[in-house]
């Protein structure tokens, strides 16, 4: 009898073990949420994934509270309504504003955080979107000038009628900090997608990079090419995101601060790859405004890696990305 008992008990124990070790694959935790006027998704792998992601979402909500243009309690709202007077900003807001100004200087104003009055005038993305009259543009254009923003420590001031919009680098900034939070929580693999701002942490598998798809400007739901990358941000700006179509002409939401009109170049989208998501965010805007030739030169001078999709359906890739880039769609041609 004893032998029988022992064998039965062993069988029972084994059964328990069986049930225990079945689904132990990578514990992935994903959260979809809405913030900063866009749909966001963070996927993290590892034991601490859930806690880490929750912390990230809290951070983003907190950041938005600081820099939102529309929330009355935000620093930026205060700054925009200060009528030329000095405003005290939180350290975080001051930090991001400083980065925005630095990047504006670096891109010679093609990325400009003071572009709000102009984009508001066009209203692209709202029901009031319309092509403004030249006089209206002329009136608003002088307000678009990042040099008139004064920032000393945490005290800032802008001209009375000017407005700051940090939406251009807000998501990039958020992504950089979210990655830090994930790392602090011991997460080694993650995919952070904040609207058009993607940051991939770690690798997909040992020696296997992540596959990031680039949106097809003709088919915004689909991707037409991929970049095999790890530990980097991938940011895109394109003319298909928000636009106004009048008489067959498309006016996109990226403006040329010099003309006051939507940037009209040979480009349809620009994708920047860099471990610094904040600057990548600003660069995509600036490069789009520059047009292909100037943009490629700028990239070479500043060692920026990017992918350019042109109106003639050609794709140009900077040297550093050539080996990671793969074209999938036959509708586009790769330009050597």
């Amino acid at each position: 009898m004893k032998k029988q008992q022992i064998s039965i008990l062993t069988a029972v124990a084994l059964c328990f073990l069986l049930t225990g070790c079945s689904t132990q694959e990578e514990q992935a935790y994903t959260q979809d949420f809405y913030a900063m006027d866009t749909a966001m998704r963070i996927t993290a792998y590892g034991d601490n994934a859930a806690d880490a992601v929750t912390e990230c979402v809290s951070y983003i909500n907190m950041l938005e509270a600081d820099i939102s243009r529309t929330r009355e309690s935000s620093d930026i709202f205060a700054l925009n309504h200060a009528e030329g007077n000095q405003t005290e900003l939180s350290e975080q807001t001051a930090d991001i504003l400083q980065e925005a100004l630095d990047l504006a200087a670096k891109t010679e104003g093609r990325f400009d955080p003071t572009i709000a009055p102009l984009s508001d005038l066009w209203g692209i993305g709202t029901e009031q979107a319309a092509v403004p009259a030249q006089e209206q543009i002329d009136k608003v254009l002088p307000l678009v000038d990042y040099t008139k923003v004064s920032l000393e420590g945490t005290t800032a001031s802008i001209p009375a009628e000017a407005e700051i919009d940090l939406g251009g680098i807000g998501k990039g900034y958020a992504a950089d900090h979210v990655i830090e939070i994930l790392k602090e929580n011991g997460v080694e693999q993650a995919i952070v997608a904040l609207g058009g701002n993607v940051y991939v942490l770690g690798e997909k598998d040992r020696d296997t990079p992540w596959k990031v798809g680039i949106t097809d400007p003709d088919n915004p739901g689909d991707s037409f090419a991929t970049l095999s990358v790890s530990d980097t941000a991938v940011v895109t700006s394109g003319d298909y995101e928000r636009y106004l179509e009048v008489d067959g002409k498309r006016y996109c939401h990226i403006f040329d601060p010099e003309t006051g009109y939507s940037a009209e170049t040979d480009l349809r989208s620009v994708t920047v790859v860099s471990p610094d998501s904040t600057s990548a965010d600003a660069y995509t805007t600036a490069l789009f405004v520059m047009g292909l030739e100037d943009a490629m030169e700028y990239c070479e001078q500043n060692r920026i890696e990017a992918v350019f999709v042109c109106k003639d359906h050609t794709v140009h890739v900077t040297d550093g990305l050539k080996s990671s880039f793969e074209l999938q769609s036959t509708e586009y041609t790769y330009a050597e």
Binding site: V12, C15, F16, L18, T19, S22, T23
Partner: protein, 176 residues
Amino acid sequence: MSRTKRIALCGMLSALALALSLMERMIPLELLIPIPGIKLGLANVVTMFALLFLSPKEAYSILLCRVVLASLFAGSVTQFLFSLMGGLLALTTTWLLLHWHDRWFSFYGISAASAAMHNFGQILAAMLVMQTVDVIAYLPLLLVSSIPMGFVTGTILEVLQKHMRHLRLTSRDNAM
């Protein structure tokens, strides 16, 4: 057994079942099977005991008490549904199988069948709540786990039955 004694016993058993049910919550089955509220079904031991030493009516009442109280204390409507479905199926199966106890089935088999039906009930409830058939993917795993669970529960019942004869709690008129 006097009526008062029976009622008192039912009360005690309900409390015990409730305690087991709440204690079960500490076992993080959700890490393996991501259905919120999924449980191993330990409290079913009490239900089966009630079937053996009291009557089916009392067993069902204890089950109902336990399920309602558990979801009031620390649960939600979905919790209630899961426990109810699982508990009812388990209890009914046990009651049916007990008719052939000693000839065809031992407590081990009956307990295993009971645990299996409990899990089936939980998945069924999950399908209704989440409106998707796909939770059935977790059933194979749960089913396999009902065999060891059956041994655990069955052993408890065997031991109990042995000792119950010495106490004057049992009466001649039980469910068999």
